[in-house]
Structure formats: structure tokens, C-alpha cells
Symmetry: C2
């Protein structure tokens, strides 16, 4: 079952001819989460043949336009395509006011409800949970309130060992309770422990999204051990002063976050348009965290079990 | 001097992987007019290397999202690029209200004024005029109020015939008044008529933009003799009934408008995404109006003098 990230846009505030503003889709077991929604998101979704109907949850990190100007177009097209399941948007409470006149203008024709869930910018908060995945939002540090997001696959129950079912003639009706942690008592009264009857499920996979932000130490604890970390790297280390002033990160700082959080893999993006060549970002980050990749529009990153 | 149209987007309401929603740029003697501004307009402008600083006037035909959702991103990027000349937007008066919360959110940082000019949807109106060009708006017929736009180069003064300047020894200071229509009186008192001293300037060039609209007869009179007509052709004639119900046009109707208005050339666009092949649009239109072309993103159409 898939756990796969698709980059729709990887530019910073100003799009380029190669890069759209920030937007990503995370597929968690065929549930698709849209993460930020810069202008052109709906165009990229169509190019990459991602089904609009599968997207019912959108996380918006903060209210700079390059992270949400594509929302109204996505909403409008989702409606024109005849999709009618509710749409949940997790964002700063102000987003509703920013979009309200445009949503009202559509309203007579709108076939689904839009439910705004305000983010908490003071502390981490579980914002979504179902049987497949959960999402934790957590504060980062920018010129306006911003949240990162940690997506975690739900832990799966352990697998029954088939040979043990045969060996002890375990009835079907007891399988679920054993998976949930029970042992099995044989007819002779012997108790076979849970651990002998099962093999552990694969560890749940996780993805963390951190943009726009200065290097922000407290995030490392929250995302510790994450399988894939996307961290903005707007500048190179030579512009660390300007990065600090604008509450952005350098490639070096993104790599330091990955190292300190013991992430398994790092993906950097949100490059300033002043850079024509991106290899220096990769070189700078890999000196500190070797398993780093550059985000690029259309690229997919799969996390295997 | 240029009179050139560039297509930024040629899709109808839903963008495709090949076509952005409606947006065009008309270059009239290096003054650039943006006509409609669907989502992704700023991305197309950057791809096509059109200077944001040259765009200070935007005409928005109507308030369906595929014709204006790119405005806020254009405004934001124009600001980030440090451009500070005023921006004039000609649109339905309601547009201001739709964008106001997002503009207010930018306002502290906004370096230019945005001036909204409400369109008149009841009768034709001159909405812009300077020494190079003028724009006439005129009502069309859609499910919401919509205007077409007629762009006309200003008539130029006639050219002086150099051999006549020499022959009659016309002083430099009289050239301008002769160009403006006067004759020249020689020292002997003979009056040389204006017509002998000058050759007429090339006729002013013109461009008309008509979307979204059903076939609307009164427009033909307004745009009569236009050099280039862009007319929407959302459907083929086989869907004429549905076109009428949704206040759109067929390729055949677009061609009929071009013929009836005695346009010199026709450009059709705003194709419904249901059509994978566009050749039938061209075939249908050319049966009635042979000099027809299909709009496609990035295409340029130059009108020579």
C-alpha cells in the first residue's frame, strides 16, 4: 500500500517558468492529502493525473499567497467536476475571511460543504485522525503564524503466524483478539503467549512538512525519526543573515534539522528565484545530511514499508 | 511598431494539462493590456518573458473564476518584483468586493494603488484612451453580466512628403500644423493644399475580444471591420442547443460573427475540455469564415500595418 509524496510546486514566493509555488500531495494508503495550494495547483493535479475526488483534506501552512492562492480555483473546478463530498481545510482561522466573498459568489452552485478547521499556532495539535492516518500540526517560526505538519500512518495490528493457527487449531473468531494483544488458551489449558502467535506489523511510515520557517529547534523533537522530511531551503548559507531576517532557512539549516531530528531522508525546496543553479543547495545540505534530494515539480517520493 | 496579441490561456472553465484558463496580452505600441486573468496568468507571463512592469491596465470580461482567479497572484508578484506604478482594473464593480480581503491582507506591503473602474453592462463605453490606444467595452450575452472589448490604435497623423518640403521650402515650424490638416501658403501667396503635401498614415489597427457569450448580433456593428476578432467557441455546432442554454457559442457561430462583422481574421478559443481534438472546430469555422485560426497557449498573432 502506497505512502507517496508528489511535488506539485517547489518555488518560493515568485513562480518561475520551471517551478510553481508550493503545493504537494501525500498519498497515504489511497487517501490523498493536499499540503499547501499555491496558484496553479489544479493545473498540476490535472497534469499529474491526480483525481480531484480523492482530495477531501487540505493543510495550509500559513497565509502568504504563494501557499494558498490556488485554493479557490481548486474548489471551483472540484465543483465543476461534480464532486460532492465535503472539503476540510486546516488553516489559520483568517483564511475563511479571505476567501469568503469568492466562496459566497460560488455558493448557489456549490455542491459540497467547505469546513474550515483553525490551526493552533501555539502548540502541537492532532488535527486529523482516521483508521489509516493522523496529522499533527506544530508551530514553526516565520514572519506570520505558520504550522508544520507531521503525517503518520496508523500503526497496524501484528500479523498472525499461519503455522501457529494450524498448530493450535485456533478458531477464526479468536484471531482478531489475538491480533489486538491476547494470548490463546488451548483445550488442555496451556496459554500460548501473543508474541509466539504473531509477527509485528511493519512500523508506520511518516512524513513531515516544514515551510516557511527559520531554523526552529523545537520542531526536531516533534518530528524525531520521521521517514521523510521536507524542509524549506530558500537560501544558501552565504545568505544566512538575510535568511534569518526574513525567517527562512538555508540549505545548511534544513540539513541540520534533518540530522538533529534523525530523519531518514531529507527533501529541500522553496528555492529563491535568485538562484539559477540548484546543485550548490544539494552540495551544502549533503555535507551535513547525505541523504538529501532536491524537490522538483512532478517528482514523486515513495516510502516503502 | 507592434500590435500583437499573445495567448496566455485558451481553455474554458476547467484547465487542461495543455491549456490554462483565459488570459491574453495585447501589445499596442509597447503598451501591454492584460485581457482576463485566469489562474496561472503570472506563470505564463514569466514563461513568455513578458515584463510585469509594462502591464498597468487589466480588462476583466466577467466574474467567472476562470477569467479572474489569477489576478491576486499577479498583483502579489508584481508587488514582490518592486513595481510601483498604479494598476487599473476594468471589471464588474463586484470584483473589488471579491478581492478586497486578500488585497487588505497585502496592503501594508503594497507599493502601488489598485484602481477599479466599473464596467457598463448596458451599453458600449469608452473605458480607456491615451495617445496610443483606446478601449471600448460593450455588452455581450452570458449567464452573468459580461463585456467584450474593442482595442483600437489611435489614428496617426499623415506623413509629410519630403520632396514637397524641399520644393516649397516649408519651414520646420509649420510641419506639425500641416500634418494636422492645414495647407501651406507660399511667399507668392499660392496655397498648396494639405492633400498634396502629405500621404495618409496607415489605418489604425484593431482587436476585439468576445468571451463568454452566446451569439450576440448587436456586437457585430460595434466591432465592424476589426482586424482580428477573438471569439469564444466552447462547443461544436452539434451541441448548439447546449451552447444556447449555457450562453456559449459554437465554432459556427463564432465564424458567423466574424463574417457579419466583416472582421479580417478570426481566432477561436475557450474550447470545452470534452473535446480532445480541435481540428473539427477549425473545419466548422472555416466553412463560413476561411481566415480562422485556433488559439493555443503561447501563440502570438501580429497585425501588421
Amino acid at each position: 500500500m502506497n505512502f507517496e509524496l508528489t511535488i506539485l510546486g517547489s518555488s518560493s514566493a515568485i513562480p518561475t517558468s520551471e517551478r510553481y509555488p508550493t503545493a504537494q500531495v501525500l498519498n497515504v494508503l489511497e487517501r490523498f492529502f493536499l499540503i499547501d495550494c499555491g496558484e496553479g495547483t489544479q493545473i498540476q493535479l490535472r497534469r499529474l493525473k491526480i483525481n480531484f475526488a480523492k482530495i477531501s483534506h487540505i493543510c495550509i501552512s500559513h497565509l502568504h499567497g504563494d501557499h494558498y492562492y490556488g485554493l479557490i480555483g481548486f474548489i471551483s473546478t472540484r465543483n465543476l467536476l461534480g464532486i460532492n463530498n465535503d472539503l476540510h481545510i486546516y488553516a489559520h482561522s483568517e483564511l475563511k475571511n479571505l476567501l469568503q466573498p469568492q466562496i459566497d459568489y460560488l455558493k448557489a452552485d456549490l455542491q459540497f460543504k467547505i469546513i474550515f478547521h483553525p490551526l493552533n499556532f501555539r502548540k502541537p495539535e492532532l488535527i486529523f485522525s482516521d483508521n489509516r492516518a493522523e496529522i499533527l500540526s506544530f508551530p514553526l517560526k516565520h514572519s506570520v503564524p505558520v504550522c508544520g505538519f507531521l503525517f503518520r500512518e496508523k500503526a497496524q495490528l501484528p500479523h498472525m503466524r499461519k503455522e501457529k493457527i494450524a498448530e493450535y487449531q485456533i478458531p477464526l473468531r479468536q484471531i482478531q483478539t489475538i491480533k489486538e494483544g491476547a494470548g490463546f488458551t488451548t483445550e488442555s489449558g496451556a496459554v500460548i503467549p501473543h508474541s509466539e502467535l504473531t509477527t509485528p506489523a511493519a512500523p508506520p511510515r511518516s512524513y513531515a512538512f516544514c515551510t516557511d520557517t527559520a531554523y526552529f529547534e523545537p520542531a526536531a523533537e516533534i518530528i524525531r525519526g520521521v521517514d521523510l522530511l521536507y524542509h524549506e531551503a530558500t537560501f544558501l548559507d552565504e545568505m544566512a543573515g538575510w535568511a534569518a531576517q526574513t525567517y527562512h532557512s538555508t540549505a545548511r539549516q534544513a540539513a541540520e534539522m534533518a540530522r538533529n531530528a534523525q530523519a531518514k531522508k531529507l527533501l529541500i525546496g522553496h528555492f529563491s528565484t535568485r538562484y539559477k543553479e540548484l546543485q550548490p543547495f544539494l552540495d551544502e545540505a549533503r555535507q551535513i545530511f547525505p541523504d538529501t534530494e532536491l524537490a522538483s515539480d512532478g517528482a514523486r517520493f515513495r516510502i516503502s514499508r
